[in-house]
Symmetry: C2
Subunit: 247 residues, 2 copies
């Protein structure tokens, strides 16, 4: 277990959806910001890592547990903690707690370092992660097995200019937008994710045509998703849904 | 001139674009958040206005002056000031200043109050705006004259779930995304808006097909824009561009 770092956050108007809850892709994006703030507080900024090693942090996997999504204007605390790391991957948790200190969401994330020039994953230099105090482990933690979808329903998306971030590719919070947007408005106002497993396979660039495909199983209230470009899978997810009233 | 209210803001990673500058639609959305925070600090929240009058604040016009867009991680201050109001409109400025206190952007905005049930603009109750200390004026401030475009280039957009906000319609920052996204990547990495006039005409709902149309004049480096649904204009803009290197 490593150092913890917390930031208070009040859910802004423009990041809430029609159900008055926070937009989940925004909360993922903001959480990465919080880990960046921890790095800054430890004098170990992303810029240092880039300047010294030519490496940039990327997220490869999320396992997201949602008891409930925070609502408009609600004050929550986002706490991040570096859990452990091995030769390739760094495991980091984000805990979202409400004003009473009750945990309402948990994001388990896997980070890796990408060589900015070659766009390939690099070994983790011990000294880059030393400031976070996490344990080095031998084990590779495995996510779920994602199957390739056989008869997905697919919706076409074009990459928009504002989908891109500073790294020159689509920001990873956008993948989840494409995955959730395939459902109709009635479904998204009645159901909310209870658990999401999400795996990033390949980056996506401007001008790409994205097929956001999914299969939904009404019996188990679960859906499987894939984001494809030119027939290649760039991201996969499994979502377990629940009724919003259940929270 | 009315009360001023300031919030410091550091530009987050996920709201910067490929040129490393802040995404302008995000900064507009965040500024509205700052005026909401001022209302809260004065004990005059949006919720109070809704509960007591059934009214919600909407923005009808922007005049945006950009010396330069703030960059990733830059610390700026956003100051809002209620300037004046008349029977229908409230005029409010937002000043973005850099760490040296230099003003780098100015948003002149026009707000109105919409009856949530009838979706029509309502008269401004004096007591709703009294806390901001702005002068009541008789004059209606006029924006530029927008012409209907005769032969626009048009790109089709579908409204996505996450384009909607808590008011159940498309968040107004999205209109600007559709207007700017029509340009190609090369143009958007070489040129940046110096001045934008933007007028909202009608709200947009989920399921709508949006045509973002524009005409660009290379000689004057200016573009005119309209957002249409079913042949009706829902928003219009005029943008004056400059080379990014000029800033």
């Amino acid at each position: 277990m490593g150092l913890k770092f917390s930031i208070p956050y009040q859910i802004p108007f423009y990041e809430t959806d029609i159900t008055h809850h926070v937009k989940l892709p925004h909360l993922l994006a903001f959480s990465l910001q919080v880990s960046g703030m921890q790095s800054e507080s430890l004098g170990n900024t992303d810029k240092d890592v880039f300047d010294n090693y030519g490496l940039v942090w990327i997220v490869t996997d999320y396992a997201i547990e949602i008891d409930r999504l925070p609502r408009y204007n609600e004050k929550v605390t986002i706490t991040t903690e570096a859990i452990s790391y091995n030769k390739i991957f760094c495991y980091r948790n984000f805990y979202i707690t409400d004003e009473a200190g009750q945990q309402i969401m948990l994001f388990k994330t896997t980070f890796a370092l990408m060589d900015y020039e070659t766009r390939k994953v690099a070994e983790v230099p011990d000294e880059v992660v030393a400031p976070y105090g996490a344990d080095k482990i031998k084990k590779l933690l495995r996510g779920p097995r994602y199957k390739t979808l056989e008869n997905p329903l697919e919706i076409l998306y074009r990459v928009r200019y504002f989908d891109l971030d500073m790294n020159g590719h689509v920001n990873n919070s956008k993948y989840l937008e494409w995955m959730l947007d395939v459902f109709d408005l009635d479904f998204l106002t009645e159901y909310t994710p209870a658990h999401i497993d999400l795996k990033y396979v390949k980056e996506i660039h401007h001008g790409s045509k994205i097929y956001s495909g999914y299969e939904f199983d009404q019996g188990s209230l679960s859906s499987q998703h894939q984001i494809c470009v030119d027939g290649n899978v760039h991201a996969q997810a499994i979502i377990q849904w629940k009724e919003i009233g259940d929270e």
